[in-house]
Symmetry: C2
């Protein structure tokens, strides 16, 4: 068997978290079943695939994610590279690889990327070897292919770390948002309740959060003040 010189032995896997006003979700693909597979049941995995030889890692992550899910323009952040030679040695894993990879027995290392998107802004559509695609509650995940459960949990940890230290996540809100929306986003990602007054005190002293002379309209309660986020005034 000649090595496929188009492909490297490096892959990328994307842990795309989704925010939907209530729960933190993660995007999983359902892998196409190997023809004549001896194994029953569905096979879920993170969107990921091999990197081309001519391609950078970051752009490979974008390309692969787009090919499998049709998601575009997603901010992806690298968090770890997994290089255990036995990371892909389960029975089902090997069978699947034999069907979908030219060099199924080559050791592949993979670099993990994470991302956080507003679910309503993106409409994932299965393609390539993804036969289906869905958002899963991070607290109720199926068994994943390969070492993807491990990658996913490391990605979640990295996301929370990022949220705690710097403040990302404004991208996920409408341009004009209320402080309650921002708080809810933080609570969902961090997986814990935050104190309203303390949260507001902390947030409103950030220079990047601009209060607007505008209020919500059409809500059936006291309308909240709107704010916007000015990246250029960010202090990170």
């Amino acid at each position: 068997m000649t090595p496929n010189i188009q492909m490297s032995d490096v892959s990328v896997d994307c842990v795309v978290f989704g925010f939907d006003d209530s729960q933190l979700k993660v995007l999983l693909i359902e892998q196409e079943k190997a023809p004549g597979s001896s194994h029953e049941g569905k096979r879920y995995a993170l969107p990921g695939d091999l990197v081309f030889l001519s391609e950078g890692l970051d752009s490979a992550a974008r390309r692969v994610l787009n090919e499998l899910t049709s998601l575009d323009n997603v901010y992806l952040e690298q968090f770890h590279t997994f290089g255990d030679p036995d990371r892909v040695r389960g029975l089902k894993d090997v069978e699947w690889l034999r069907n979908f990879r030219k060099n199924p027995d080559t050791r592949v290392i993979t670099t993990g990327y994470y991302s956080l998107v507003k679910m309503e802004d993106y409409n994932p559509k299965a393609a390539s070897f993804a036969s289906d695609i869905a958002w899963w509650d991070v607290n109720d995940l199926p068994d994943l292919a390969f070492d993807h459960n491990h990658i996913l949990s490391k990605g979640l940890k990295a996301l929370r770390e990022q949220f705690r230290h710097h403040h990302i996540g404004f991208e996920l809100l409408p341009k004009k948002f209320t402080l309650s929306q921002l708080q809810e986003l933080n609570e969902i990602v961090l997986g814990e309740k935050l104190d309203k007054r303390n949260f507001r005190r902390k947030i409103t002293k950030l220079k990047a959060i601009i209060p607007l002379d505008e209020k919500q309209i059409g809500v059936l309660h006291k309308p909240a003040q709107l704010f916007e986020y000015d990246v250029s005034k960010s202090e990170d």
Copy 2:
């Protein structure tokens, strides 16, 4: 030219920091010159090399470091993977690769590891394609091969981050150490002076730092109390 199936297109690079009671140093190898090289001058680089196909990343890092420098038993921590396809495209880089690699034009991604060792405990000896090896002051570095200056500075940032948040570095001190020694280690790594009283207050309230009923002997000043570090009581 047939691809070398022994080697993957992944390498590891090790940023080994050394602590020597006064300065933070980093270990660089001097690369063997390409025969008939048109370029003058020495060529410095981080110890690093390709990963075997059958090998895990972490063990590759250990192996490569050992082969080039004869260092052994070094704790290495992964910090980032560099995958820009043009990371290795300088003129001298290409010339060197043509001489020392079977597939000089293959894109290689590299995973960076950092480490911190006590210089006196380790005696690096150049081997393989390292023609020489030396500790360099981190504040006075030469131009390095490939993108190694970039990798190095990202490694230093990761080391400092690690030091600020968790407390590593006890491995670098004698089993029984004084608080001043520990403070000095921290100052060297962080590159800044610390207040003695504040440092001691913070440190002594860690449960993992055990005060001993023992003092320094033979010093020409007031002997300091000795402490030891109990990993099992670490609170990180």
